[in-house]
């Protein structure tokens, strides 16, 4: 096992990794930008090193600074968290060349899965259904029109290097396809320095289902079931849950097994997630593999009782998985609400600044992962997520009720947050019936979500 792990991240995930390390008896080195110098979680680390100014490019994205910190602090492994350098194959490569363990898949696997065209190819080889589309990059509009002819409208245009909804367009006819093709390509070029796009059949109102995987370095792979992340706004997940209310046991078995086949084909190691679209008719399609721990890994932790960050550390240090697929047990229902410092009434604009009073909810079935506290100042430099509120109860209905009371208890004075929006979504009849899809939030809570006044209980 590692002796000393450097955490190349900030906020709640940095705290999350520190917690896992402490419980395993591993020393921690927390790096931070000067904007995060006051963060309380830094006190829980054995060593802290300021690596740069607030701008991410000069701190949390600055590879030489992070490697230098690891060398100075004599860390034998680096946990990248999510975001920042988590899926940067060059960073993983530099770690390797510096003889520092990168806690995640190999650089080669990250690179292969980071390219959506190559990832689709992998899924195809694994015999996993993919959304019908171009076999790889589409060079020009003529080719685009040909492909569209074959697979039929509506068509989704996607950036090969994309993510977070950028470089994505839907076209419902030929003129729209031509326009969208060029828009998507130049948007991708601007955002990722790579204008390569590909086409896919656009699945209307799908559910977002993803499967959590653990794979050790000895060929053992287990899945930990699915998460349903259909409550999204502009491709940003807001609420995640497990199990999905829309999977039958038979469908769950097929989709989880498909996920295992994909990561086996990719020679994947460590924790990862295979994402699928689930159509209304029960057919599912591979989208991509997230070659890192995800924000919502916590949902799976609740229903399986496993600590995924500890598992990452164990796997990266070369240990074998201590359990087999048949040993995994699921119980109850877990829901996560992402609490963002954003103003849902002002088109979700970030609302950083000082938290005057922070009173988290507690009691039975409630978990909070947050680095915030009364008096904490949310820096304007990073993303707006300030906490993940989770509940775990025996049934979905009980979990929703517990989440509603937890949201009501949660006091955050100062910044605006997504707490009222979550309350509204959880009271929505479509959500309560489990009958919602990835279009749900835009449909009911568009750019000016009319958050209904709280109903009497």
């Amino acid at each position: 096992m590692f002796r000393r792990v450097l955490i190349a991240n900030r906020g709640e995930i940095a705290q999350r990794v520190i917690r896992a390390c402490r419980e395993l008896g591993i020393e921690t080195v927390a790096v931070y930008s000067s904007a995060d110098a006051d963060a309380l979680y830094l006190r829980q680390a054995d060593e802290t090193i300021c690596i740069g100014p607030p701008q991410s490019a000069k701190s949390y994205l600055d590879i030489p600074a992070i490697i230098a910190a690891a060398e100075v602090a004599d860390a034998d492994a680096i946990h990248p968290g999510y975001g920042f350098l988590a899926e940067n194959d060059h960073f993983a490569e530099v770690c390797r060349s510096c003889k520092i363990n990168f806690i995640g898949p190999t650089p080669e696997v990250i690179a292969a899965l980071g390219d959506k065209v190559r990832a689709r190819e992998l899924a195809r080889k694994a015999g996993v259904p993919i959304v019908p589309g171009s076999d790889g990059a589409v060079e020009d509009e003529k080719k685009a029109l040909e492909v569209a002819q074959q697979i039929g409208y509506p068509i989704m245009i996607k950036a090969a290097a994309g993510g977070g909804g950028r470089g994505m367009r839907v076209a419902r006819n030929e003129p729209s396809l031509v326009a969208s093709f060029h828009q998507a390509s130049s948007e991708a070029k601007a955002a990722f320095g790579d204008g390569t796009v590909y086409l896919e059949k656009f699945v209307e109102n799908p559910r977002h289902i993803e499967v959590q995987i653990l794979a050790d370095e000895h060929g053992n792979i287990v899945h930990l079931g699915e998460r349903d992340c259909s409550v999204q706004r502009r491709h940003q997940k807001l609420i995640e849950e497990s199990p999905s209310p829309s999977l039958t046991p038979e469908l769950r078995a097929r989709i989880c097994e498909a996920a295992v086949r994909v990561v086996r084909e990719a020679n994947y190691t460590n924790a990862g997630t295979v994402e699928f679209l689930l159509a209304r008719d029960g057919s599912f399609y591979f989208i991509e593999v997230n070659a890192r721990i995800q924000v919502e890994h916590t949902v799976t932790e609740m229903v399986t009782g496993l600590d995924l960050i500890q598992q990452q550390l164990l796997i990266a240090s070369g240990e074998r998985l201590a359990f087999k697929q048949e040993d995994v047990r699921w119980s109850g229902h877990a829901i996560e609400c992402r609490i963002n410092a954003e103003d849902p009434e002002k088109d979700f604009q970030p609302s950083p600044g000082k938290i005057e009073l922070f009173v988290p909810p507690g009691g039975p079935g409630v978990r909070l992962d947050s680095h915030c506290y009364s008096g904490y100042r949310i820096p304007p430099n990073y993303d707006s997520m300030i906490g993940k509120l989770l509940v775990h109860r025996s049934t979905r209905d009980a979990a929703v009720r517990t989440m509603l009371r937890a949201l009501d208890e949660f006091v955050i004075e100062g910044p605006k947050t997504t707490i009222p929006l979550h309350g509204s979504i959880l009271r929505h009849s479509d959500f309560r019936a489990g009958d919602h899809d990835t279009g749900f939030v835009e449909r009911y809570y568009g750019s000016h979500p009319a958050i209904p006044v709280k109903e009497p209980r």
């Binding site: 790096v31 930008s33 000067s34 904007a35 110098a37 006051d38 963060a39 309380l40 830094l42 006190r43 829980q44 680390a45 054995d46 060593e47 802290t48 090193i49 300021c50 690596i51 740069g52 100014p53 701190s59 030489p64 600074a65 490697i67 230098a68 910190a69 060398e71 100075v72 602090a73 510096c98 005057e356 009364s374 008096g375």
Partner: protein, 163 residues
């Protein structure tokens, strides 16, 4: 008014939690003004994080409320307050070296004059020796880091009396 008196007044203020005291005398025309309690102050005490090479597990410790002004970003907090002069801080994390090799002379010593662009030290990061050059000119008053010590971003390295 002598220092002893001031010292005693300060102690009285401290013990009595007085945060403001005015005093006139004009040969006993007199005037006094006292304010107790907390000054306006930050609404919630900003916890001071003790950083850098904590070594053993850090014991949670927050500065007593009101005992200190809001903590600035941590490394800067370590500036020796008493000194007059300009501080040159590290622009990166790495290992601090005073000379280009163990045998070579130190780039600067206390008392050295430095000019714009003169090399002050080397910070090694990722096996790269980064020469740190002066952006001011003046005289080195103090060297705040030992040779071979790790430094973090923003950590003060030199104290310089500028021209």
């Amino acid at each position: 008014m002598d220092v002893k008196l001031i010292q005693r007044l300060i102690k009285l203020m401290k013990d009595g939690e007085v945060f403001e005291l005015e005093l006139e005398d004009e040969k006993a025309g007199s005037r006094l003004r006292l304010k107790r309690g907390r000054p306006e102050a930050p609404a919630v005490p900003m916890p001071m994080v003790h950083v850098m090479h904590a070594g053993a597990a850090p014991v949670p410790q927050v500065a007593a409320p009101g005992a200190a002004p809001a903590a600035p970003s941590a490394p800067e907090a370590q500036k020796p307050a008493a000194h007059k002069g300009t501080t040159i801080s590290s622009p990166m994390v790495g290992t601090f070296y005073r000379s280009s090799s163990p045998e070579a002379e130190a780039f600067v010593r206390v008392g050295s004059r430095v000019e714009l662009d003169r090399t002050l030290c080397i910070i090694e990061a990722m096996k790269v020796m980064n020469e740190i050059k002066s952006e001011i000119s003046g005289e080195i008053l103090e060297i705040l880091v030992e040779n071979g010590e790790p430094v973090e971003f923003g950590q003060p390295l030199f104290l310089v009396k500028t021209d």
